[in-house]
């Protein structure tokens, strides 16, 4: 193994565009207060659906953060990713000149890319035919632009860019990819996370699979009815510990490791063995034992199948008394490719501020999901290591482990 592998990597900036707040401060107070912002979906026509609640980013003003590019050239998801990246850099205190002078990775996870734009093109097709599509909107549809738009907006040229399209765990994939890139010296900084925009295609998909809750999302509850579709972006700034210390940066958390597995089992159903193996791989990568985990930020979609399967896999690994296991999707809805990135930011904030964000809308824990989900109200807690889960269609699983920053490495890892 190359000597530079093992470079410690920390999170020094967080950019949030979410249904419960834009920016770290708003997001933190919403997580602490257990707020959600559920409302009937307005970004596409929901006529004919019996219920249409969702978690939109309301009153989003892209021009506040997107200054170099014309927001009209960006799809809705790219606007979210680009604004969140700008917020992350500002939050980190890292001068843009420093970022521009260093080799950087921009890695953005997404479920749908710019499917919201494709939805709009379908509407155009129905009225004007395929020959009548708007070329400007067509140019917005390439999924790679979720990442390249960030580089162009921040004027980064010495940069590797890519969108990781591994559906609802893609945010964790991007964080893991960035961890590896910095660990092994491919990049000095990484802007990574995930972004997705609400779209008719995905809402209809989950609706048809009878997985959309009529009112709100109640993870681990006996009467949970499914997800609420959401949107937004979470982008994190990662750098080596040495770099963060040298510039006196505020450190949210250390990225201790991550794991990926593929179920190779079913296109949409979660798979207990596959996700248990993913958690094991993440723990091994970080050199952490199950007993050292203080909190699990669950994938926790609020569907019957996910919450039962996930709880069972957690108990397989952690035994009958697993760590407290919360679902931030109870507040954020399911923001798809942004979900595990926003949850990773939530975990970073939890480690910094030493509290556990709650699982809201909770009434009666399902005996088939026997976890302490910290119902309804956040609690102060002594948190050292937090695990962030992400599962996805295609059986694409990814788990990220974050730790409170300590001067001494926790231990010599096996890597």
């Amino acid at each position: 193994m190359s000597t530079s592998i093992g470079r410690r990597v920390v999170i020094t900036g967080c950019g949030v565009v979410s249904s419960i707040g834009v920016g770290v401060r708003e997001f933190t107070s919403a997580l602490r207060a257990g707020r959600s912002n559920v409302r009937p979906i307005s970004v596409f026509d929901t006529t004919g659906f019996a219920h249409d609640n969702g978690c939109e980013v309301a009153d989003f003003e892209p021009a506040r953060w997107i200054r170099t590019l014309d927001p009209g050239d960006l799809g809705r998801a790219s606007r979210f990713s680009t604004a969140a990246a700008r917020l992350a850099v500002e939050d980190s205190g890292l001068p843009l000149e420093t970022l521009r002078a260093a080799r950087t990775l921009v890695s953005v996870g997404s479920t749908d890319g710019e499917a919201h734009e494709l939805d709009g093109l379908v509407a155009q097709e129905l009225s004007a035919g395929l020959a009548g599509l708007d070329p400007r909107q067509v140019r917005r549809t390439s999924a790679g632009r979720l990442a390249t738009s960030i580089a162009r907006e921040l004027e980064l040229t010495d940069v590797e860019t890519g969108t990781i399209a591994t559906a609802c765990s893609a945010g964790n994939y991007a964080i893991g990819n960035s961890l590896d890139a910095i660990r092994c010296g491919d990049a000095e900084f990484a802007l990574c996370g995930g972004a997705d925009a609400l779209c008719r295609k995905t809402f209809t998909s989950f609706y048809r699979l009878r997985s959309i809750a009529p009112d709100c999302c109640r993870p681990f509850d006996r009467n949970r009815m499914g997800i609420l579709t959401g949107e937004g972006a979470g982008i994190l700034l990662l750098e080596s510990l040495d770099s963060a210390l040298a510039r006196g940066a505020r450190i949210y958390a250390e990225v201790l490791g991550y794991g990926m597995s593929c179920d190779a089992h079913h296109p949409v159903a979660p798979h207990q063995a596959g996700i248990a193996r993913c958690m094991e791989l993440a723990l091994a990568d970080a050199g952490v034992k199950p007993g050292e985990i203080d909190l699990i930020s669950a994938h926790g979609t609020g569907t019957k199948a996910n919450d039962m399967t996930e709880s069972a896999a957690i108990r397989d690994l952690f035994g009958p008394k697993p760590p407290r296991t919360v679902s931030m999707k109870s507040m954020l809805g399911h923001s798809m490719g942004a979900a595990s990135a926003l949850a990773a930011i939530g975990c970073s904030i939890a480690l910094t501020e030493q509290f556990i964000p709650p699982t809201i809308n909770h009434r009666d824990t399902d005996p088939d999901c026997p976890v302490d989900c910290v119902p309804n109200e956040s609690v102060d807690a002594d948190l050292d290591i937090v695990q962030n889960n992400g599962w996805a269609f295609g059986g694409n699983n990814a788990v990220v482990l974050l730790g409170r920053y300590e001067r001494q490495p926790r231990k010599e890892t096996a890597r």
């Binding site: 190359s2 929901t46 004919g48 659906f49 479920t111 749908d112 890319g113 710019e114 499917a115 494709l118 939805d119 379908v122 097709e125 129905l126 395929l130 020959a131 708007d134 067509v138 140019r139 549809t141 390439s142 999924a143 790679g144 632009r145 990442a147 390249t148 040229t157 010495d158 940069v159 590797e160 860019t161 890519g162 969108t163 990781i164 399209a165 591994t166 559906a167 990819n177 590896d180 092994c184 491919d186 008719r200 295609k201 995905t202 209809t204 998909s205 048809r208 699979l209 990926m260 597995s261 593929c262 179920d263 190779a264 296109p267 949409v268 596959g274 269609f393 295609g394 059986g395 890597r415």
Partner: protein, 357 residues
């Protein structure tokens, strides 16, 4: 980042499903003969399609209801490559990674689904079996299921530079030992939706191609030296901010060569991504300036099989390996593959033919 030689990724097998047909030989023969494949009308332009490819004919009716064309092409290519790898039939496949490049999955499946919802009597009167095909990772997920691949499974979207970004992602999986072997490919399907999107994107008609090119990557120290076709020396990428794509590409290629200690004269073949279509081809011009006509013309243009969008760069790599097979390249032991996109992204891969000497 330069990996220690023993961990450096090598390509030890590859395959392609393309308008030239099925498998490495069919593709290599097509490229070597520079024969233009048959095209047919497709969308607003022409299309070079994979001959008589039909998912249900190839895989049967069972378990293929949810399989769209791009997934079928991917599953079939993976099947060919796995057959070359001589794996134990019931062996552990937890350490085989799978990395696939795409523009946006299947635009056709995504748009069909939305259209069905808008035009149906009720907006939820849609086919549930169609849902998985509307997600960008559908093809990689299907390949994992069909072939039992349980290692890291990723889908990468980076416009026309996708293939090289996928290669870089695969390289990182090997360097970090997250996978022992990686099947790395890129796939595009021909469809009405993609034809029209490409037509509007470029503001004119084009001949679209389709298919899947896929490579087996493994660390040098675990590959059978007799199988090693090329060693991945490095990959670099940039974003062009000032509109000077040729300049950015030139800087990217030069910096990669310098960093790798490889003189320009040692490059035997260079292939670009045919960007942009039309009369001005800054990518082609740049490669000619850097390497000369002989090196640039060693391999036919990658759009011989039509524009394959996100799969372009890996079809380019397959083209070079096709022509290099059995050729006497003497001291010119390196190859260069580049790609550019209209979003400003530029990427370049440098490979050494055969194993490291």
């Amino acid at each position: 980042m330069t990996a220690p030689a023993r961990r450096r990724p090598v390509i030890s097998a590859w395959t392609a499903i393309s308008p030239f047909g099925y498998g490495r030989e069919a593709f290599a023969n097509g490229v070597r003969s520079r024969r233009e494949p048959v095209t047919e009308p497709g969308g607003p332009g022409e299309a070079a399609v994979v001959p008589s490819f039909d998912v249900r004919e190839m895989f049967g009716r069972k378990k293929t209801r949810a399989m769209n064309r791009v997934s079928g092409l991917t599953v079939a290519a993976a099947q060919q490559l796995l057959a070359d790898m001589a794996l134990a039939p019931d062996g552990d496949r937890e350490h085989i990674g799978f990395v696939l490049g795409t523009t946006t999955g299947s635009a056709q499946s995504m748009m069909d689904f939305t259209r069905a919802s808008i035009t149906a009597e009720q907006p939820d009167h849609v086919e549930p079996a169609a849902v998985p095909g509307t997600v960008m990772n559908c093809a990689a997920g299907q390949a994992a299921i069909w072939h039992g691949l349980k290692g890291p499974n990723a889908t990468i979207a980076a416009g026309r530079t996708t293939g090289l970004q996928a290669l870089n992602y695969a390289r990182r999986l090997l360097m970090t030992e997250r996978a022992e072997q990686v099947l790395c490919g890129a796939a595009e399907e021909h469809s009405d939706a993609r034809s029209w999107l490409e037509h509007h994107r470029r503001g004119g008609a084009a001949t679209l191609g389709e298919g899947c090119a896929m490579f087996l990557l493994e660390p040098a120290d675990s590959a059978d030296p007799r199988n090693v076709l090329a060693t991945l020396t490095g990959i670099d990428s940039r974003i062009c901010l000032d509109g000077d794509l040729a300049g950015t590409l030139q800087a990217t290629v030069s910096s990669l060569l310098t960093r790798s200690g490889v003189a320009t004269e040692r490059v035997w073949a260079a292939v670009g991504s045919g960007f942009p279509a039309g009369s001005e081809r800054p990518e082609d011009t740049t490669l000619r300036q850097l390497f000369g006509d002989e090196v640039t013309d060693r391999v036919p243009p990658v759009d011989l099989i039509g524009d394959t969008s996100a799969a372009t760069a890996l079809f380019g790599l397959a083209s070079v390996l096709s022509v290099a097979d059995g050729a006497d390249h003497g001291e010119q032991d390196h190859i260069v593959v580049t790609a550019c996109d209209d979003d400003g992204s530029v990427a370049c891969a440098l490979l050494q033919l055969g194993g490291e000497r």
